[in-house]
């Protein structure tokens, strides 16, 4: 009881700190920067935060610096969905799933509701995430520590399975895409053995293919090339935009998706490395499975946007938990914040909450405020974005191409990456022509390396015995769930075939 009182006290203190003019200003700056960075292709939140590190020294106060950087991080999560919905280009891996139904909604003139529900969902999810962070952070972090290679393997496998289900069309094509994605993911340095795979001597490929390059190429450029076939002189969206905001019906349809997505995102997102992507996948699969109209998914079902978008924002909040409670960064952007803290003399870890409660609670409080700020920032912009779609596609297309080129170039300052993006653009174009869906491919590309590392690490730990996946409690549960899932799928497919044959 006294613990909970202590939390409220700390939180109250935190709000007092977060509401100072300086901290509010920097929270706002962070939110704006983050949104911009999330929308612009290429540069991600971790790169931006690293650019701002010297600035954070000048600010002087660690609380203020983190408030700003945290703002950038989850601001980017809000912004990432914008390009996914408008032009089918995912800003980062966690936004790929949003592209599926989000872009379809935009094509049907429902970009406004899509963007709106993404913003609202993100706000609710982010807030739930911060509430979770406030109250269950330490025990949850301990639980997350128990996730070792076998658990990651099981979880990623689950994610991959769900990715196969995403695509429309035959199962065979879906599986082919997943396999191709896995193969693409193995290009580059193999961290377990140190061997370099499939680079044909090209130094630039040693680190593997970058997600951004692949996504911009296959999704962005591929879409543009195929649209060039039809001489689209007018706007991309020919149907009149009916509503700018989500209707009450939209909200009624999505509200549970948002709640479910928030919890899925929060619990899976706490896992370092890949948590956000997997959570968006799981959310999409859950929504599709639970929905009374699953055939709508892939054609513009609003739950297909609401769920995953909430999931990835909750995951963003959750990824702060390992940092603030254990001192373990979960992804590149958080690692940058970790470094920024270290440099300013703050040790993130279990002692942070007791030794520097101001910093801990100040940051947590500002995350609540930040979510509000982002909602206020993003909702009015929906109108702006919808206007953008009214620009004739003949002009919009080359501009999108340029944004992609510069975005990709900004990653490593080399034109090579632009060529790679172009190649994937052509591949994406061809794939669209032959009705192969790039969605599962890119998700497999992201999850594949995690999966392979996990299984090889697990086998090293178990001295080669595959039993480790089943004997460990968490991993065993996940594997059991997985097997049940597959059996269920097989059962359903067989029953459908039987029904088809009977009719």
């Amino acid at each position: 009881m006294s613990e909970i009182l202590g939390m409220f006290q700390g939180l109250g203190n935190g709000f007092a700190i977060a509401f100072t003019l300086t901290n509010l200003t920097f929270a706002f700056i962070g939110a704006v920067l983050g949104t911009v960075v999330g929308i612009l292709p290429g540069l991600g939140p971790s790169a931006t935060i690293s650019l701002l590190l010297p600035v954070s020294f000048k600010i002087g106060s660690p609380v203020t610096s983190i408030i700003m950087m945290a703002g950038i991080f989850y601001g980017a999560m809000y912004g990432g969905s914008t390009t996914s919905i408008l032009v089918n280009i995912p800003g980062e891996a966690a936004s790929v799933v949003t592209c599926i139904d989000g872009y379809q909604m935009a094509r049907k003139g429902r970009a406004g509701p899509a963007l709106g529900i993404a913003a609202i969902g993100s706000f609710i999810a982010g807030t739930i995430g911060v509430i979770g962070l406030t109250f269950v952070a330490p025990p949850l972090a301990e639980f997350a520590l128990k996730f070792g290679p076998p658990e990651y393997f099981a979880l990623t496998l689950l994610g991959l399975l769900m990715a196969t289900m995403l695509g429309e069309g035959s199962i065979i094509k879906g599986l082919i895409m997943v396999v191709m994605g896995l193969l693409l993911g193995s290009v580059g340095l193999d961290p377990i053995s140190g061997a370099i795979r499939f680079t044909w001597g090209l130094n630039m490929l040693q680190e593997g293919i970058d997600f951004v390059t692949l996504a911009m190429g296959m999704f962005g450029m591929g879409e543009i090339f195929i649209n060039l076939e039809k001489a689209i002189k007018t706007e991309l969206v020919t149907r009149k935009v009916d509503h700018l905001w989500p209707t009450l019906k939209d909200w009624a349809d999505s509200k549970w998706a948002v709640i479910r997505g928030s919890f899925i995102g929060f619990f899976i997102g706490i896992l370092p490395g890949g948590g956000a992507v997997i959570s968006s996948l799981v959310s999409y699969a859950v929504e599709k499975r639970i929905s009374k109209t699953p055939e709508e998914f892939g054609k513009g079902a609003i739950q297909g946007v609401a769920g995953p978008e909430s999931a990835n924002n909750a995951a963003a909040s959750a990824s702060f938990i390992p940092l603030l409670t254990l001192g373990i960064p979960g992804n590149a952007a958080i690692a940058m914040i970790f470094a920024a803290l270290l440099i300013q003399g703050v040790q993130p870890g279990p002692f942070l909450i007791t030794e520097k409660p101001d910093i801990f609670w100040g940051v947590v409080a500002s995350m609540y405020i930040g979510n509000v700020m982002l909602l206020i920032l993003n909702l009015p912009m929906v109108g702006l974005w919808v206007q953008l779609l009214r620009v004739p596609y003949s002009i919009l297309a080359p501009i999108i191409v340029l944004f992609c080129c510069v975005g990709v170039y900004s990653l490593r300052n080399t034109v090579f990456d632009i060529y790679v993006m172009g190649i994937f653009g052509v591949i994406g174009y061809i794939m669209r022509k032959v009705r192969l869906d790039p969605g599962p491919m890119i998700l497999a590309f992201v999850l594949g390396p995690i999966l392979e590392r996990a299984i090889r690490q697990a086998l090293l730990i178990s001295a080669g015995s595959p039993l480790i996946f089943f004997t460990r409690p968490i991993s065993g549960t996940l594997m059991g769930f997985l097997i049940l899932f597959i059996l269920m799928q097989v059962f359903i497919t067989l029953r459908r075939k039987k029904a088809d044959r009977a009719s």
Partner: protein, 323 residues
């Protein structure tokens, strides 16, 4: 007589041209780029940024940290090697795994000793063996007893064939334990793994584990260094415990490409020394577990070569191979 004076004057003028050149553009005239061949947020990156933070007090122009990760450190280092040797592009991290260990196993795209001029050493990140705080063993001796009864003992390491991996293979051979090293993507992932108990022990640098040592989640049981590491002074060396596993660990120094003028090198060495003497810098470094250990160009150059040879000896003595 007058002609001689005239000749002397003219000669004097000609001879002073180099000084004119230098006086006209004294190094540095613009910001200096410091390349870190590792990802942002890692221990080398933090070191570089700390240096960059204190530098304005002593350098006439700012130091700008740029991350160039890739190829285990080789990509970024190579880019410095190929850059113009005018002192405006420096490599921070000289003495890391890819400088001292990798050349024993692979052909390098550049010569780590001749293509780079060592400027100074900043710190040494030693290799520490750690175990979980709640493990049934508390010292190296107990760990070895426990480990001998098992088929294999797992150790989480940051990179395959890095300095930590190689050192642990040596530990295995020296102690008679069958150590299987499990590589992760960098120190942070490796620490998470040992904290979570996924492996039996781990190998990390003090800066990566200092907060976990404080919270007693991790216990350091031995350090692979000639003498004890001042960051963790209570931890005995492997040698003290009877095992001849000695390595220089991951050294962090600054280097410039071959061909950089000597005046530039001495300016840089001098200023970096001033940074290393700065009390604020010393304290910050101590807090993050990276003790300041300055060495000037000549000493550092020798230290690097000795370290390289030492790794070579360890590899030979314990017959360590890349799988």
């Amino acid at each position: 007589m007058k002609i001689r004076i005239l000749l002397a004057l003219v000669l004097g003028v000609f001879l002073s041209f180099p000084a004119w050149g230098m006086a006209a553009e004294k190094f540095p005239t613009k910001a200096i780029e410091v390349d870190v061949p590792f990802a942002a947020g890692g221990s080398t990156d933090v070191l570089a940024r700390l240096v960059g933070k204190v530098a304005p007090k002593y350098f006439d122009k700012p130091l700008v940290v740029v991350n160039k990760p890739g190829g285990g450190g080789i990509t970024g280092t190579e880019s410095v090697v190929r850059s113009k040797p005018d002192g405006y592009t420096l490599y921070l991290g000289q003495g890391s795994g890819h400088d001292l260990v990798t050349p024993h196993f692979q052909k390098m795209p550049y010569d780590p000793f001749n293509d780079l001029i060592p400027i100074c050493r900043l710190s040494v990140h030693s290799i520490v063996m750690i175990i979980r705080g709640d493990a049934p063993y508390k010292t190296l001796k107990e760990f070895i007893e426990w480990g001998k009864k098992k088929d294999q003992v797992t150790a989480s390491v940051s990179t395959k064939a890095g300095s930590v991996d190689i050192t642990f293979q040596a530990v295995g051979k020296a102690t008679g334990l069958k150590i299987v090293t499990v590589p992760f993507r960098g120190g942070a992932e490796a620490v998470t793994s040992i904290v979570g108990g996924q492996t039996d022990c781990g190998g990390n640098h003090p800066s990566e584990i200092i907060s976990h040592i404080k919270s007693k989640r991790l216990i350091p049981i031995a350090v692979a260094l000639e003498n004890r590491d001042s960051a963790i002074p209570d931890v005995p060396t492997f040698r003290e415990l009877g095992y001849n596993v000695v390595a220089v660990g991951s050294v962090k120094g600054v280097a410039a490409p071959k061909g950089t003028p000597p005046e530039v090198i001495s300016y840089l060495a001098d200023r970096f020394k001033k940074v290393c003497d700065d009390p604020e810098f010393i304290k910050s470094m101590k807090d993050i577990g990276q003790p300041v250990m300055y060495q000037g160009p000549q000493d550092f150059s020798k230290y690097l070569k000795d370290g390289f040879v030492q790794f070579g000896q360890m590899i030979k003595e314990f017959n360590i191979k890349l799988e």
